[in-house]
Amino acid sequence: MSLGLLYGLAGIALVAMGLYAALAARHVLRRLLGLNVLGSGVFMMLVALASRTTEIAGRPDPVPHAMVLTGIVVAVSATALALALLRRMHRHDDSARLPEDRLP
Amino acid sequence: MPEWMTVALWIAAAVVLATIALGLVRVERGPSNGDRMLAAQLLGTGAVAVLLLLARAADAPALLDVALVLALLASVAGAVFVRRLGVQPVQRGQDRTAEDGP
């Protein structure tokens, strides 16, 4: 088993659990954690696939690394905005769940 | 560097990682939030050690920079936790029940 395959499969597993949590959870914070785990899984797949490219001078493909770097920064800023919206919603009606998820 | 040294360093890194992973039990069990935070601190210290060992084993000095960043930021999560949440007073009563107390 190669390094790329091991981490690639781990990335797939993370994508699956992140997706499930992002769709199934009711608490918005947990949905956001799910999206972040999903993102980490996607990044891991990308970097794992990059590690399977032919190395030149000991370096794998730099393009996926640059994409993941961009992705991490965008993910954290999107999370920050989403958390701000969550706090706003909580200030507004004292709930951390979307209206359709609230228990009757 | 002799071959056996490289192998030994790889094993050492794996053992350190497995050892600090024991701390995750404390994250799972708590009981207080402070306990969870302190276990996270433990993993931070361990991750620094793993990075230093890997930097030598894989001969990648750039990893020393990653370790430096982790070391610089090791206290940030703890500081945010203490300033924003603090240790919950709920647990304080049962904290005192020492098995071996005086």
Partner: protein, 173 residues
């Protein structure tokens, strides 16, 4: 006021020299790196002045520094072995409790902070709270000779900063 400002600029230049040394070590002595290094250190000094409040002059005693470093290293090794022995015994050898300790170090200056930080690394003691007159210490073995060890640490810290302490008899648990 003028003395305070002078102390502040002494401190700034000391910090600047320290950061320049750090930069030299990090970049491995690359000359071209100073294009970034000089503005970076300047920015660090400007920001450091924004948050600096302490202005009392800092005096270090070289012999005291050496004494403190050796004491600190010896005691932190002892601290690690001590706690490792306590937790790996079949039956935990701990009797945790809180101990109060009356300060002899002066309130201004970094001496108390250094004391508090190093006490947490020494055998069996952990600083839980710092007050104006007392410090609250959590001890793994509250019945051990905690005050005596703290008194020695305080003496070493005082030596580092070339300070004089009052007689050690004034401590109580």
């Amino acid at each position: 006021m003028r003395r305070q400002r002078a102390a502040l600029s002494v401190r700034s230049s000391a910090l600047g020299a320290l950061l320049a040394l750090l930069w030299f070590v990090l970049t491995g002595g690359a000359v071209s790196s100073w294009i970034v290094g000089v503005p970076t250190i300047a920015a660090a000094l400007v920001l450091a002045r924004q948050i600096e409040r302490l202005t009392s002059p800092l005096r270090l005693d070289p012999a005291g520094v050496l004494g403190f470093v050796t004491y600190f290293l010896r005691e932190s090794v002892r601290g690690g072995i001590d706690v490792a022995g306590r937790v790996s015994a079949r039956r935990l050898r701990v009797a945790p409790g809180l101990v109060r300790y009356r300060w002899r170090l002066p309130a201004d200056g970094p001496a108390r902070a250094l004391f508090a930080l190093s006490a947490s690394l020494l055998p069996g003691t952990l600083v839980a709270a710092v007050g104006e007159h007392e410090v609250l210490i959590h001890a793994l073995d509250a019945k051990g000779p905690v005050p005596a060890e703290l008194a020695e640490l305080e003496q070493r810290v005082a030596g580092l900063f070339a300070l004089r302490l009052s007689a050690p008899g004034a401590t109580d648990a």
